[in-house]
Symmetry: none
Subunit: 249 residues, 2 copies
């Protein structure tokens, strides 16, 4: 099993059994890079271990655990978020098939891909979605959409492994650039948010949280390269410097 | 939901919970034609009903039940048998993807297709396989092949539903958003370029043209919506305003 694979990231997973089931689902398709963000019942989790059993237990042993989502995706060049409900945030939406084509191309080019799965009951929050580059929407029957966490993981893992010959050129074009890892985009977002906050941009207070979320979503929606991130930091710094010089050219 | 669909045939299924889970898995992808051959615990099965719940219960209500496999596939023009283990019988073997392509073509031509799933513990017997036209082998990790009945059903149902014909090349189509026309992106670029020029960002002079071009390229490379353009104009204006207020928050 190659080391080059996407990370399947369970965000605030609730039941240990589901975490174990997810590990089994992944390993059926040769995937073993699991990450957990703030699991509800802590970690390690005996129920997860009991459900995983066998080789899948090793997936759990090696699972990375973080307290926050930004930490979990810090090294990711591209992040997908699985979602059942339609969302208000503007974000590209793909089928698992198309998403995994992208993921394979990115991974083959040495870029780390992260795939987010939300808590069993409510799914991912908008704050989670805002950190993703694109959404994965599994095309289920609108009259009976009842996929659970393990099933969503299974379908994505299956699509990752399903062979398709010749990825379309636009997929490879994305993979050919030096995309900024999520941690750099996060810091860019922090920089703008902080300065804009000081400048009174997030006004009125009732709209502040929504405006901040919208801006975060904008940064992560863009395919920003490392150079872009540096440029945008520089833009902000220089504009501020100009201001503090009292407007002198 | 069209009547033209393959029959998912559970052969000697053991646990009611798994039958219910299979019904749910099918209905997630709009499939409702279930057949049961000699279910171990008889029929109806309260455990199956409890697991199915909601609309999936109706799948169980309408499930055909027969004592033998030949009766269950009597009307089928083509029968697939899912199998994990390699078999001695000479039989074509396909991936779920390829099998469902065939299934869709046959179904569109008005031919009934049957897909067999074996008992949980041992899978299909050779006597069952002998009635099938082809085998479906799900390409699982040979070192950890542990798909259960519900998962096998889920993957076949998913493949049945997965669209494969002429998906548009524009993968990153934003869901229902209003991309900014080029003229608006151009004006955004003008705004930033002008203010950054006043702020002395394009320095040294020998690099100025290249830096301006790079920034223009950044804006047009992004899939900016009209709302994004407005946001980015606002970001720039507010930062400048803050500056001209002498840095007061």
């Amino acid at each position: 099993m190659t080391d080059l694979q996407p990370a399947f990231i369970l965000v605030r997973p609730q039941m240990g059994e589901n975490i174990g089931a997810a590990a089994r689902a992944m390993l059926n398709f040769g995937l073993s890079h699991m990450r957990l963000v703030d699991p509800r019942d802590g970690w390690p989790n005996p129920r997860a271990v009991a459900m995983a059993s066998g080789a899948a237990g090793r997936v759990l042993d090696h699972a990375g655990v973080t307290g926050t989502l930004p930490e979990a995706i810090a090294d990711c060049a591209y992040v997908f978020a699985t979602t059942a409900r339609t969302r208000d945030l503007t974000k590209p939406v793909m089928t698992p098939e198309r998403a995994m084509e992208h993921a394979r191309a990115l991974t083959a080019a040495g870029r780390k891909v992260g795939i987010l799965f939300g808590p069993e009951r409510a799914g991912l929050e908008n704050e989670d979605i805002a950190r993703a580059n694109a959404l994965i929407s599994i095309p289920v029957n609108p009259d009976f959409a009842s996929l659970n966490l393990g099933q969503a993981v299974l379908l994505c893992a299956y699509e990752w492994r399903r062979e398709t010959d010749g990825a379309p050129p636009e997929v490879l074009a994305l993979a050919g650039t030096e995309l900024a890892p999520a941690i750099e985009v996060e810091k860019l977002g922090d920089h703008y948010e902080q300065r804009l906050d000081e400048a009174g941009f997030f006004f009125p207070k009732t709209k502040a949280a929504g405006m901040k979320l919208n801006l975060r979503n904008l940064w992560s929606r863009m395919p920003l390269t490392r150079a872009d991130v540096q440029t945008l930091h520089g833009v902000l710094r220089q504009i501020l410097r100009r201001g503090s010089d009292g407007g002198q050219a």
